[in-house]
Symmetry: C2
Subunit: 246 residues, 2 copies
């Protein structure tokens, strides 16, 4: 036990962590191809000279990560690579702008409290009518407009937003931290700038723009719907993915 434990400490983490990374290394390098039956728990127990619980912890995590599939009585098998899923991080715009080394500025263009229209209800996926707050904002990177934001907030879910003017703080950061969100849906697509967007972003009408729409729920209640429009040159979404965590 002592030697292996030492190796585990040298490796940086705990023993079950080391077992986990050893196995995912074998899978990701291709040494253990899809369909391959990885050693039984009791074999790994012998190999690492540890208890079954420790091996089990590692294998359970690998199964939850989708790298292996476990079958009772049969063993654990390397899974076929499945869907091309990527973890896409969508940051706060201020952070994004500042990461580019540019000065960030925020501007509220319009704010309207109103009874939800049919269109509003469609965007928020609301069943019944109610008060909503409609906002239009611009985010600047240096002197140039970087993104245009069009947002609806469901006042039934976030009553305190009715009192906020959003002159100095953007609705995104305001909402985060105030409203716990349980679910979000993103839609990403390319569109041609209409006249309104073209003016707001200081680009030509018809120029390609990247649109990111997000709907957010908190425990079944729709909270907000927002549509960010970026001028094509100004923005690229980057997503990195690893099948397992190291």
């Amino acid at each position: 036990m002592s030697m292996i434990e030492t190796a585990a400490v040298e490796g940086g983490g705990s023993l079950h962590q080391r077992i986990l990374s050893d196995i995912s290394e074998k899978i990701l390098s291709g040494a253990w191809a899809p369909g391959f039956r990885i050693p039984f728990e009791h074999e790994l127990t012998a190999e690492y000279n540890c208890s079954r619980m420790t091996v089990n912890k590692a294998l359970s995590q690998l199964a939850k990560a989708g790298l292996i599939e476990r079958r009772r009585r049969s063993g654990s098998f390397v899974r076929q690579p499945q869907s091309q899923a990527a973890v896409l991080e969508i940051h706060d715009i201020r952070i994004e702008v500042e990461a580019l080394g540019l000065a960030y500025r925020y501007e509220r263009v319009a704010r309207q409290k109103r009874r939800s229209s049919a269109e509003d209800r469609g965007l928020l996926e609301l069943d019944a009518a109610g008060q909503v707050l409609a906002l239009e904002c611009r985010h600047f990177a240096g002197k140039r407009p970087f993104a245009h934001e069009q947002r609806l907030i469901n006042l039934a879910a976030v009553a305190e937003a009715a009192e906020e003017e959003f002159l100095d703080i953007a609705p995104g950061p305001w909402l985060i931290g105030r409203v716990p969100w349980s679910e979000a849906e993103h839609r990403i697509r390319a569109v041609a700038a209409d006249r309104h967007i073209a003016e707001a972003l200081d680009i030509a009408t018809g120029a390609p723009c990247l649109v990111v729409e997000r709907r957010t729920w908190s425990a079944e209640y729709p909270v907000t719907q927002v549509r960010f429009t970026y001028a094509a040159e100004s923005h690229t979404l980057v997503a990195r993915f690893r099948p397992s965590q190291g």
Copy 2:
């Protein structure tokens, strides 16, 4: 123990699973706000009448999921909602087209085996020169072109690709299952169609297009780089995210 265990079975999963979902429900509903100190392990142990290991398993998973932060001697705390990370699923194009209820057709436009140019090496992030396979393909939904694909395959990593004509099978599905991939990077942006793309997708020059670029590595070796271009009307990426699994 018996009553709680029964409740757990009714809840669908195991006891640690039930503890996990109880707590994430509290967090996501906002009942336990960010910063709130959730009960100590020994308190939950008493509440659920189970061992500390069982509670620990649930809390460890919550910590790994990012919902709580654990501090020795202090306890476990509800975390501030952090990054807006979303699980973006990028499927095989055939699947996407068929999900729309349209007939899928694949066409190989061009194929060239060549020594990597400086541009190729930049796209693949290759250090040294070597053989690459350059492919150009089109994917159809019904009669209309749906996506244009431009791909480089690093033949040093996938030698067998040199023998494949890719007339009947698209390179994506061919590569998946053959090459285990350990890492991928996506870049998503909007562009205006140039003449070549406009012709390939049968749209107007300058029309907005969604571009998804993907680079794939297998155990440190660059495998392939691909650029999909979609006509704006034809495509929206959808990503759904929950901070925890239910």
